[in-house]
Amino acid sequence: MGDNPSRSGNHTAGDLDVTPRHARGAGSGVSPSSHEEPPIGGGGALPKKSRFSMETGFRGLSTSAGAMVLVIIVAIAIFLISKAVPAIQADHENFLTYNRWSPNEATPAFGIAVLALGTVLTSIIALVVAVPIAIGIALFLSHYAPRRLATPLGFVIDLLAAVPSVVFGLWGRDLFQEPVRDFSVWLNHYFGWIPIFGGDGPFGQSLMLGGLVLAIMVLPIVTSLSREVFQQTPGMNEEAALALGATKWEMIRTAVLPYGKPGVIAAVMLGLGRALGETIALALTLGITWEISFNLIQTGGNSIAANIANSFNEANDTGRGALIASGLVLFAITLIVNMTARAIIYRRREFRDSAA
């Protein structure tokens, strides 16, 4: 595949702007129909299929464009690994289990234990809060709201999915932090005996704040994907349930939810992928500590992506390598999550096609 794209690319590129105006421009490509202008009704021998035509050129060009996706994914893996390996080799501690991040010292010592824990905990909080609400909204939009309300509301939800994460981060830090702090103090006062709500403060920029901001961010994605699968529920199945004397909720439980289940699972996985990789919102809302702690409400917490954003400016060569190594871990995790989600969606699509 190596040199084919560039060669055919030149041909096509040269031709593209000519074609619309006069069909003769197929010049070097010699496509049979445009070249010789055979008499109407044919006559004579059929034109031979040429070995190298515009057709093969264009096909090669688009094939290589498609292959670019694979090239990029492989390149991401290769380049990240090439920068990460030297840094990990220079690491004086275990990269996976050590809980500090000092890669810029003369004896670099760093590990992703705290980061990975924070990444997972914030994402779990986000999903636990966002998924039930998202499914509720999706059902509201697909089955409860009158169309006059559902269309604009769905539109607004889609718009919210487009709001940049830095805005949510800023809002989380400047505004949402205060109510969350109050809530944390309250939780600590009455439920302090549960370890995750324990501690002596200060409270505020905690895993809970980060997780809740993430929840608000993944909510629109999970909602709009779930709404889509709920809307695809075959009307005749819904009618079948209703005709059996089901109430609306029973109809949803018999026909809509089982049908939408794989789609919702995939939506949740995609939301999880988004939450795991979220950088700026967490960099702005987490308190950044290096303790391994399951406490949700004390100031603290950290995540792989947030740490990259926060530590990048002070990083030297090894420091950058260390950050890239942590990014590689994140890449691997999100890749697995996304591939699982996509595999579910693909299986479901095949299932649906074969059933139809």
Binding site: A243, L244, E250, T254, A255
Partner: protein, 258 residues
């Protein structure tokens, strides 16, 4: 337990569009009534009005009086789910729940009604599948997906699902239009069998089918598109097909129109 259905001056609307106009008819218990007529004449709309499936569509409403054993099913204090349990419905395309097995499909209505005891469900599944002439074909694979059956079997599974909740009336909306002739015959046989227990109303495009299975036949028609459908003639099937009193009916069944 079959019941009498009585419609008097029923008109159905979709928003401002009037789909059927002023239909009155009485359906006796334990009979099969066929509704025939050209496409868009409102026979399906009328059928769906009988168990209030009509109003599933937004802005759909009805005027007039529809009673089942003298209870008006459109009274404001009526429980729609009770109406639909009492008046079951089988649809044009077989629609078993795609995520459920054959067994689960058959007992879906019972589970909705809170029946949890396994032995009861098992009994009911067997009984309804037997009634639907399906038991012998599926008894060895009750846990397989219902969607894996053939079209005719799926439709009989849907009938089993409908009669499992023991309704008093069964409505069938062109139940055979998506099926091959052999499956159609199986469904028609089944209808004769079910007639002992249920009042059956069937909408069909197939006039031979109407003539074969029904005791009474109603002929619906429209003057032109956009006009509401009307019940032109309602009488014994034999009379409709041999000696109809209306010119329109005669034109339709002799194939001169529609």
């Amino acid at each position: 337990m079959a019941k009498r259905i009585e419609a008097s001056n029923v008109s159905s609307y979709y928003g401002s569009f009037k789909a059927i106009d002023n239909v009155s008819m009485t359906v006796e218990p334990k009979t099969i009534t066929a509704l025939i007529g050209p496409s868009g004449c409102g026979k399906s709309t009328f059928l769906r009005s009988i168990n209030r499936m009509h109003e599933v569509l937004p802005n759909a409403r009805i005027e007039g009086r529809l009673t089942i054993d003298d209870q008006n099913i459109y009274d404001p204090d009526v429980d729609i789910t009770a109406v639909r349990r009492m008046i079951g419905m089988v649809f044009q395309r077989p629609n078993p729940f795609p995520t459920m097995s054959i067994y689960e499909n058959a007992v879906a209505g019972l589970k909705l009604n809170g029946v949890k005891k396994k032995s009861l469900l098992d009994d009911a599944a067997e009984k309804s599948l037997r009634s639907a002439n399906l038991w012998d074909e599926v008894k060895d694979r009750l846990d397989r997906p219902g969607a894996g059956l053939s079209g005719g079997q799926q439709q009989r599974l849907c009938i089993a699902r409908t009669i499992a909740v023991e309704p008093q009336v069964v409505l069938m909306d062109e139940p055979c239009s998506a099926l091959d002739p052999i499956s159609t015959l199986a469904i028609e046989d089944l209808m004769f069998k079910l007639k002992d227990r249920f009042t059956i109303i069937i909408v069909t495009h197939n006039m031979q089918q109407a003539a074969r299975v029904s005791d009474k036949t109603g002929f619906f028609s429209i003057d032109k598109t956009g006009e509401p459908g009307r019940l032109i003639e309602y009488d014994d099937t034999q009379k409709i097909f041999s000696n109809p009193s209306q010119k329109k009916t005669e034109d339709y069944i002799t194939g001169r129109f529609g």
